[in-house]
């Protein structure tokens, strides 16, 4: 039954697009919203049922799926972020053909991401990574201007490199293990020790996923793609696509499949630290809100890998927790950025100022998100960063823990710079008065801010019910 998470969106997509009638014209957007809502609801309401129902499609080639707590957390995130993305898309896309195409592509992206987070073998994972990648190119380029073409092209090129590596890796694993299911590969690596084929295969797959995650120095595509994409798409890309294709996959593989073999843990910590520093300094130099958010995204992903790299249960849980929190506040910041762009016609720092007066909801929800990103208690981002740092400390990696605390200051600096300038700084002369964004964009912002606040305030609860079970996975 878990396979329906993939099959249902695909079926809906076919139904919506085969008959060329009124249904095909008007239904895609509501359907996409319903699908995303259903997905989030299912993850919350039926965790036990979903976790106990693995399924395999299309034997003997086999697409195998199963859900555990981490997968369900991702499924929930996919639902929430897709909803936000659809809201922003509705507010910023021309009604009619554009919106229809956008909705259809989001449905396909949901199917693809579900496939990724539920896959239990490398081949399935690879196939759905490709699905999501292709959908992403089309989404990015849907604005059909020079910038988005460039952004999409870079994503395409680097994704192809990543695909190549992962495909080679799968071939190698097939040679050494005879099978590509996670379990078989994990057993093979555990049994054969430091076989060079395994080393190369692990390295290639990890490298490919590093590209997908946008970790430094594999991140070249990311700022351009995030910035060039239309508003709804950048929300989806930053909020969940990169997280599921790259971060989630790398988490899953390095812990459950590679079993932190070949010293990959410290490598991830190091990459994470470099990414944090690089992302923070990169963000500081930006004048474009979305570009700044893209670099800050790098920075936050770096924190996820700091926790993951420790190889401990707590580090793993911290990574998962920060993945979720990051998805929430970064999605929200992109929603806010899209609202600003829509209402003022600009994303440039110098052309914005004192918006909190005219756009109070956008302004104040973004304060919540930025405080969470800057790890201010009691917001959600604080707890997950704290867990990461505790995990590092416990793992004996004190210098990195200290460095993580100090780089947190850098995060603070660039968020403060932006926040103060855009929402509370001097007002900028405009041709027409600025109004608050429409409901379809304000609602996601408020909902996401509420989640960030709620998760933070109810941290003891979320820690016991969500984070601890995840810590038991690897």
């Amino acid at each position: 039954m878990i396979a329906y998470f993939v099959l249902a969106p695909l079926a809906v997509l076919l139904i919506l697009n085969i008959p060329r009638g009124r249904l095909g014209r008007n239904a895609p957007f509501p359907t996409a919203v319903a699908l995303a809502a259903l997905e989030a609801a299912a993850a919350i309401l039926l965790p036990a049922e979903l976790a106990s129902a693995p399924s395999v499609l299309l034997r003997p080639i086999g697409f195998s799926f199963a859900a555990d707590r981490l997968s369900l957390l991702l499924v929930l995130t996919i639902g929430i972020v897709s909803l936000a993305s659809l809201g922003v898309g509705y507010g910023t896309t021309a009604k009619g053909e554009d919106l229809r195409r956008f909705a259809n592509l989001v449905i396909l992206a949901i199917a693809g991401m579900n496939g990724i987070v539920l896959a239990t073998d490398l081949f399935t994972l690879y196939v759905f990574l490709e699905v999501v990648a292709v959908v992403s190119y089309i989404l990015i380029v849907s604005k059909r201007d020079r910038d988005s073409l460039e952004g999409a092209f870079k994503y395409l090129v680097l994704s192809v490199v990543a695909s190549l590596m992962m495909l080679s890796s799968i071939a190698l694993f097939l040679l050494t293990a005879g099978d590509v299911s996670f379990q078989a590969v994990a057993d093979s690596i555990a049994a054969s020790g430091s076989l060079w084929q395994n080393l190369v295969a692990c390295g290639l797959f990890a490298g490919g996923l590093c590209i997908k995650s946008g970790l430094v120095p594999f991140h070249g595509w990311l700022p351009d793609a995030y910035t060039a994409a239309p508003p709804g798409v950048s929300v989806l890309l930053a909020g969940i696509v990169t997280k599921s294709t790259g971060v989630y996959s790398l988490m899953r593989l390095s812990s459950s499949v590679f079993g932190y073999a070949f010293n990959i843990g410290p490598a991830l910590t190091l990459i994470g630290l470099v990414t944090i520093v690089f992302g923070a300094f990169g963000a500081m130099g930006q004048k474009d809100i979305k570009r700044m958010l893209a670099y800050s995204s790098l920075c936050q992903v770096g924190y996820i890998f700091l926790g993951l790299g420790t190889g401990t249960a707590l580090g793993f849980a911290a990574a998962a927790s920060h993945l979720f929190n990051h998805a929430m506040f970064k999605t929200q910041l992109f929603v806010n950025a899209s609202a600003i762009e829509r209402q003022t016609g600009s994303r440039h720092l110098d052309e914005l100022g004192a918006l909190a007066r005219d756009m109070p909801i956008t302004g104040w929800t973004s304060v919540v998100a930025f405080l969470s990103a800057a790890a201010i208690p009691p917001l959600a981002g604080f707890w997950s960063k704290l867990l990461s740092i505790i995990a590092l400390w416990q793992a004996g990696n004190v210098p990195v823990a200290v460095a993580a605390i100090f780089t947190g200051l850098l995060t603070m600096v660039y968020f403060l710079l932006f926040q103060r300038k855009i929402f509370f700084g001097k007002s900028v002369a405009r041709e027409r008065p600025v109004k608050e964004a429409p409901f379809c964009m304000v609602a996601p912002a408020v909902a996401l801010a509420a989640i960030t606040l709620g998760v933070g305030l109810l941290f003891p609860l979320t820690f016991d019910t969500i984070i601890l079970p995840i810590a038991a996975i690897p």
Partner: protein
Amino acid sequence: MTAGALLLPIALPAIAGVACFLVPDRARRAKEVVAILAAAATVVVAVLLRGGEVRLSYPWAPEWGIDFSFRAYGLSSFIVLAASLFALAVALYSWSFMEGKGRLRQYYAYLLLTLAQVNGAALADNLAVMLIFWESLLLTLYGMIAMGARGSGEGAPGTARRGAAQTAVKAFAIAGVTDLCMTLGIVILWKEAGTLDMSGLRASGEGLGGLAFVLLMIGAISKAGSMPFHSWIPDAAQDAPLAFMAYVPAALEKLLGIYFLSRIVLDFYAVEPGSWLSLLLMIVGAATILLAVLMALVQKEYKKLLSYHAISQVGYMILGIGTCVPAGMVGGIFHMINHAIYKSGLFLTAGAVERQAGTTSLEKLGGLARKMPVTFACFLVTAASISGVPPFNGFFSKELVYDGALERGWIFYAAAWLGSVLTAASFLKLGHAAYFGKSPHGAAAVREAPAPMLVPMIAIAGFCVLFGLGNALPIDGIIAPIVASAGYIHEGVAGLAGAGGAASFAGEFSGWPRNPFLVGMTLAALALAALNHAYGARRSGSGLGAADHIHYAPGLRSVYAAAEKGVLDPYNIGMRLMLWFAAACRAVDRAIDWFYDKAVVEAVRLTSAGFCRLHSGSHARYILWSLAGILALMAWMATA
């Protein structure tokens, strides 16, 4: 006397002082009567205390060795008596002097409180208790100067005129710093000697004890007004009420400072003549004599000239005590008494001149001898006394100091002798300029000062004669026993071999000086001063310019100019250092600010810009980065 009476010299003036403060200014005479009666009562108590040794002690903080203890014995009860007499004299004098001047409440309150504090400090037998009284003098000192009755307020040429408030701050700062030194010295002494009990305290001049000695000495000699802690006194002479000058820097502070110095030298350290402590004191004393008298010589303002002598004469006391030989010590302490007498007398004559003639600037004075004959007579006696003219008291104490100094080294004697020449010269000049010569215009109406001002002056002049001719009275009665009880006068002193008991040294130091050479030299000094004055007066054509040939002598001229600009004033130097320090602090602060505001921001900005520049937008570059990353990752993994 019962032991409780020990507290009376402190309590009486203190209570009366507070009462004066509470009585409104309108009831002026009431305050004056209270002040005079309180001072007189204190004198009576002090006389009664002279009977013998009295002790009083209440436990206060016994675990730290601090007791609320007092002791009246020869020296301390004499200090109390002298201080009370000066208070009485000044209170009488103020009856007329303070007429028409404001802030009388404060004036009389400070006058009496100062007496209480000095008495308390002199009687205290525990260093902690003494320190409390000693430090509290800061408050009344500040208040007295800050009251700001500016007198005639004419500054010497080239001197920056300061407000009374500034001078008060200066006095407070100098006294505060030196008091701090003394506090530190007391703490070290406490650690070294293990007790704060003044009668039982013994310390050695080795190591930390030596440091403590220097610190205590700084406290004591700065209270007495020695160089280099003197610089507030000439300023105060112009800004503070004249009666205050006669009372505090000229009399009470000298008494207290030298009293404490003699306690340190005689009792606490029992300094041996050959030790470095003795040498240090003699150097400070000799330097103070010469430098201050050189400054005094060129002053053209009555009060200022006197104030420099108030500094210079301290040098004789320090030199005398510092010799650590019996004659010198007796002379030093005797000089303290004499100086308090004649210097306050001189200040009182200055006050009389100021009140009657309206100014104390020597340029505007002249011919007062005929108009104010009594004042002139008092001036004559006190000036002769300070110049060391026989048979006045100053002559005898100076002879004793010379005796001691010569015993320790001719150079110290030479300095003291030269000081005498210049002292005599400057008083010749002062007397000549103020009391002889032509009367300036509009001075015809100047008349003799009123009786309440004359009586104290006459009494003081009388004491100058009494302590001169009857010098056995203070020397054999008070001073020699003190020095003897400290163990400095013992068998072997000339002419005393074999004789025991208190009477054994009677007449040893009193009476006409033993050494005819010294007397001859002193007379020579006076003659030299007279010759110098005659030369200077003829050269410049007036008494006022009698010292100009020294003032503008090649070499000295620029030194004087610098000194009058305050370049050599340790207070100014200290203040300048403070300003430099403040500027340095500010520079450090700016640097820290710059580091945070500019350096860090700029470094972050440059780093950020560098990172941004790396993103050229070329996908080929990004692919290369990725491939390099993968190779590095696999290389890392291969090391496992």
